[in-house]
């Protein structure tokens, strides 16, 4: 009997790892990671023992949407890190498929834009696949709880990629404000508008 259970667990785990490219949704556990930052130090959730949650954003160097959101991501960090929700940026692109996203070029961008948050290199796109990040930028608002790190909101940062509207619906900010008021975000999912995550061409 025990053997059967072990087998079932193994099969289930194998199936689960197959299904990892599905995008995480509200209520899912946000997997921890340990990735190399542009300063060559490793960053994980554990690097922030006092955080109440995290703003995990998959973004890159050159995509026009990512570029349009650079300042807004910096502003999110400036506003919410002091309140316990730091930004952690991860570049999901394969640097061979997208030469503009090499580690060196990530370092250059982080310096040029004075990124106040870590900008992590995801070797082998492992974390990208665990989260199921599909486009840049793709944001995951995560809260720390006694059940672990829970995904609370997934999708776009706001409803204005080009950044021309006076009145934006700020999905990411609204989600964090709800969490700060011990509420669940009213909107937990939107379509993340951006460039497709770049992968090596399949052989």
């Amino acid at each position: 009997m025990k053997n059967i259970i072990t087998l079932l667990v193994l099969v289930f785990t194998a199936w689960l790892s197959q299904a990892q490219t599905a995008t995480l949704k509200e209520g899912d556990i946000a997997p921890d990671f340990k990735l190399k930052n542009v300063d060559n130090k490793e960053v994980s959730f554990a690097s922030y023992p006092n955080a109440k949650g995290f703003i995990v954003v998959f973004t890159c160097n050159k995509c026009p949407y990512a570029v349009a959101y650079e300042q807004r991501i910096i502003d999110l960090d400036k506003k919410f890190r002091p309140q316990g929700y730091p930004v952690i940026a991860i570049n999901p692109n394969d640097p061979e498929a997208s030469k503009a996203d090499s580690f060196n070029k990530m370092q250059d961008l982080a310096v040029a834009k004075k990124y106040p948050f870590p900008y992590l290199f995801d070797a082998g796109q492992v974390v990208t696949d665990q989260y199921g990040a599909k486009h840049t930028p793709h944001i995951f608002i995560v809260s720390k709880s006694n059940k672990g790190n829970i995904v609370e909101y997934v999708g776009a940062i706001d409803n204005d990629p080009e950044g021309t509207k006076a009145e934006k619906t700020k999905y990411a900010e609204d989600a964090i404000v709800a969490l700060q008021n011990n509420k669940k975000p009213a909107i937990t999912q939107t379509k993340e508008i951006g460039c497709t995550v770049k992968r090596k061409a399949k052989a």
Partner: protein, 160 residues
């Protein structure tokens, strides 16, 4: 002297006209206007491709759409190429691109600013990724969210 003045006025008018015609190469288009065109246009089949100048796979497949239109110009087919570049890029990227590639199809720049809203109006299954293409013939409609080869494009067109 008067002659020169007249000539100047004429050449100015000519120049102004030419440059207007040129900038009209790429028209702004809302989703409402797109559907109006599809519903009231004289053609019976519409192939609408969503692309952007910065999107590699889109740029790669654009010639297939040009080819489809030119090979089937005797049929009632309209291939509409709708760029989703930012509106601020109309003059700096989209128009120069259309000129450089000598594109002959009708090219538009999508005049919408809320993707969350307009994406669903094109197709609720659309993630927002490009390239994406809709094929419309009367009540028939097919939406495809991947890059197409010429053969795939032709097959979808003929299937309608």
């Amino acid at each position: 002297m008067k002659k020169i003045q007249t000539l100047l006025v004429y050449s100015f008018l000519l120049f102004a006209f030419a440059s207007t015609a040129y900038s009209q190469n790429v028209k702004l288009l809302t989703v409402d206007q797109l559907y109006e065109r599809v519903n009231k246009g004289k053609d019976s089949t519409y192939v609408v491709n969503f692309w952007a100048t910065w999107c590699g796979p889109c740029v790669k497949e654009l010639p297939h759409f040009e080819k489809l239109q030119s090979e089937y110009k005797t049929e009632k087919l309209a291939v509409l190429l709708v760029s989703v570049d930012f509106k601020s890029k109309l003059n700096s990227a989209v128009i120069p691109f259309v000129k450089r590639k000598k594109m002959k199809n009708e090219v538009f720049l999508l005049n919408e600013s809320s993707p969350q809203e307009y994406i669903d109006r094109i197709d609720p299954s659309w993630s927002g990724s490009i390239p994406a293409t809709i094929f419309i013939k009367g009540d028939k409609r097919k939406f495809i969210e991947t890059e197409l080869t010429y053969d795939q494009l032709l097959t979808e067109y003929k299937k309608l």
